[in-house]
Amino acid sequence: MTLTATLPRVEAWRVPAAAIGYIRPVPPTLEERFVAGDEAALKEAFELHAPLIIGLCRRLVGSEAEDLAQQVFVASWNSRERFDPTKGSLKSWMAGIARFKSIDHLRAAGRRPQTGGGEPQDMGEIQAENGRITDRMVLTEALSGLSEERRTVVELAFYGDMTHAEISEKLSMPLGTVKSHVRRGLEALRAELGVSHDRQS
């Protein structure tokens, strides 16, 4: 005797003949449409990410931020097939392009970024500094994409300088859960950082 033969009210379980009809496929994401060459996705990406990318470019190269941002969007579109949406966000990937292109941009212009005070001495230092600025931005943005609970735990651990035990007590959360949130949060942030470090163009 099979299990199903003993089930109550089998008739009530009839899967609707139009079962296929209630399928609602998930529309492709902005990132997926971007990679596939949907030009509308580029415009959407621009409207969504341009302010932050330009802001980043300003930190990286100073007053010619828009020129660099223009290069970033053009390069990202031309090399879009190299972007893997399953690995991270388009924003992080574009930030990585800005980072790499900022060095080329400064070399071509023969100038240093206008960061205001404590200006780096050579291109090696500029490269390191631009990497640090970009990494911090990517990490902070990625942090905002975590679930609220996980983000809170990670923020308390790193921005609040709290130990796992202190967070556990503050949030009335089991220590194991705090530990899990920190580890999984760091794994997610590392993946996002990896996307920005890929050599994209």
Binding site: V15, R33, D38, E66, D135, L193
Partner: protein, 245 residues
């Protein structure tokens, strides 16, 4: 709010110390505090410049008979959206199943009976990792006329492990609980077999056992179960549907 290296939790907390070897550079950056990049609104003509660059680039590429990059022009967005959908990076369920087919086993009545008392797992395993590949998704039908209720499921593959991410506002009443099932329907739409994924407590992530053949158990079902110790399906289903790729 910037981390203070003089009073660093990493130095006081053995749990943090364990993570340093693996995530040291990221942890250092995090302790520097949130980024200080101020968003800057683009000037009015920046988008036009980008369009112009891309159009010029496309024309130059065409002239040299290299692979053509599409120009950014007011093209038919719907056509490109469809193309995007067809070639999106969402792994097709058929492909995913093909790769799992070899380890799929015939689910016997005995195995199903064991699964019926399986414990729900991973309630905190919401998808926020880039390792999570969305295979399929769908909004389940409401079967009990509770029009304001909904249940949306997403099927993910995380490093070879399949799991369902359920988003629902449903809650069980006193003396009952909600249970998540995978059902195999025969060609007439009758229930041929079923597997319990365990009790559910509203939204959460629920692992799918490795040996489940999703080609067979393709229907997701949520039932209300009386808390009477009987592990069989009550027959009182409130949501049902088939997530698709």
């Amino acid at each position: 709010m910037t981390g203070n290296p003089e009073n660093n939790a990493g130095q006081r907390d053995p749990e943090m110390h364990e993570l340093e070897a693996e995530f040291g550079s990221i942890m250092g950056l995090l302790r520097d505090g949130p980024h200080d990049v101020e968003p800057v609104e683009p000037s009015a003509d920046l988008w036009s410049k980008i369009e112009l660059d891309l159009t010029a680039g496309s024309q130059a590429t065409s002239a040299s008979e290299a692979p053509v990059a599409p120009a950014v022009t007011p093209a038919d967005a719907s056509a490109t959206t469809e193309a995007a959908a067809e070639s999106s990076n969402v792994v097709s369920l058929a492909d995913a199943r093909a790769s799992r087919g070899k380890r799929a086993a015939i689910f016997t009545a005995v195995a199903a009976a064991v699964a019926l008392v399986a414990v729900p797992v991973g309630l905190s395993l919401r998808s926020d990792s880039s390792n999570d590949i969305l295979l399929a998704a769908g909004e389940l039908d409401v079967l009990d006329n509770a029009a304001s209720e909904s249940a949306v499921v997403e099927l993910y593959d995380t490093d070879g492990n399949l799991w369902l991410d359920l988003d629902t506002s449903r809650a069980a009443g006193d003396g009952e609980f909600l249970e998540l099932w995978l059902i195999e329907a025969d060609e007439n739409g009758e229930v041929a077999d079923l597997i319990s994924l365990g009790q559910i407590d509203g939204s959460g992530a629920y692992d799918i056992p490795d040996d489940v053949d999703l080609d067979r158990f393709s229907v997701v079902d949520i039932s209300v179960e009386p808390d009477d110790g009987n592990p069989e399906h009550s027959g009182d289903s409130i949501h049902r549907g088939i997530p698709t790729s």
